[in-house]
Symmetry: none
Subunit: 222 residues, 2 copies
DNA sequence: CCTCTCTACTTGTCTGAGGAGTCGTGCTAC
DNA sequence: GTAGCACGACTCCTCAGACAAGTAGAGAGG
């Protein structure tokens, strides 16, 4: 009979708040009433209101700033980023990757921790060890490049790189399969130099290495 | 540079949990340790752990069932793109913008059509004309920068730039309002030089101008 | 072997307290 | 008069403790 009760109060409160936000009760960027006001208004305790707010914060609808209040950061959730990538030209994807990765390499040179450097070198060795199977080699290569982007300690750049990965993987496997040859010493040397520039904290040099390496790939794929 | 402390404990706890989940510490569908176990393990109170769990529940990673426990419902979160932007540090956003825009400027120098160039110069004039109202000036500035990215004829870079726009706009308006001063001649000169490099088809020069201009902004906001 | 019950454990909710950050107000100094 | 500063009200953040509500497994009884 009482199956309405099944949902926890915090979930119900979150749903209720979301409805009121969508209804336009508070403008985008506007401040919500305080927790102490909202709690009796919704008929629940303060901690329950807090959990509801947290839940919506996790979805990106709300953001709370200590001392200031809780603010509306979005009215609804958005569009399909993957769709853009899928329909885009491969050359465009690589150009975007060059932009991301060269900048990340320069930042990584300045911010890398000893731990980052260890991860980069481990990925480099792993990359050298995987020269037989094409897919394994591509995956190892991706892990190496990702370790560099991660060393830049910039979540946006990391997220972008991860977004490009699936699309790139497919293209690279095809390219290497066509060329029949991969993972030669010259290629590996370029990667070693890139790692070395980052180890030396040479930002400009790292960006240059990254740019020339990816530029060659772009030329090969175009 | 020690701004690490600014994130609330609940956010830090959520991030920590997400890392451990991604690392595979708990399988998909598996039960996490109880809140009373997790709390001392993370060094926070039980309510804080609950808020962290709620946050991840809002993102679809966890689901809790009263009496049973908390379960992993997803390993890979297709992280909402603008949710990342909203959460991210402003410095990170600018760094990503530098990466996008410098590369776009270089490409634009090589690919601009006469029509692109006309649009860029029109946006530049418009930018110079809007020096009174802060929001109008920011919008005009954004249109100028966008005209350059558009001239690169790369849909990915354009899409990324557009994604950054809302977050940047808010921050720039705040900054200019605080600084009290904006749109001076030195600033306008930098923009004129950028347009000129693109007109001359000087890719490296355009990238350099773009980078130095945005680098100054990063320094001002940091 | 099956079923029922009971118990230990887990999440849900509330309350009260104090800490920390933000923002506007009003005072002070120039 | 105006700029700078101190203060106080307000807000979110965190913790601790208590009890309610629900679940699942162990054990007793059939």
């Amino acid at each position: 009979m009482e199956q309405v009760k099944r949902a926890p109060l915090a979930d119900q409160a979150a749903e209720l708040l979301l409805e009121r936000i969508r209804a336009g009760e508070w403008e985008l960027g506007q401040k919500l009433p305080g927790e102490t006001t909202l709690a009796p208004q919704l008929g629940v305790g303060r901690s329950t209101v807090r959990e509801a707010i947290r839940q919506l914060a996790g979805r990106g609808v709300l953001a709370s700033r200590q001392g200031a209040g809780v603010y509306v950061t979005a009215l609804d959730v958005p569009e399909e980023w993957d769709a853009v990538l899928r329909r885009a030209d491969l050359v465009s994807v690589i150009e975007a990757r060059i932009a991301i990765e060269a900048e990340a390499a320069a930042l990584a040179a300045g911010r890398r921790t000893p731990s980052d450097l260890r991860a980069i070198r481990r990925a480099l060795d792993d990359r050298a060890a995987n020269r037989v199977d094409i897919e394994d080699h591509v995956d190892a290569d991706t892990r190496f490049h990702r370790s560099i982007v991660a060393a830049a300690h910039n979540p946006i750049l990391t997220e972008l790189f991860d977004g490009f990965t699936p699309r790139m993987r497919q293209a690279m496997v095809e390219m290497l399969r066509l060329r029949g040859e991969f993972g030669d010493d010259a290629d590996h040397g370029a990667h070693e130099r890139l790692a070395e520039r980052i180890a030396e904290r040479d930002g400009d040099g790292a960006a240059r290495e990254s740019r020339s390496h990816l530029g060659a790939m772009k030329a090969a794929l175009a």
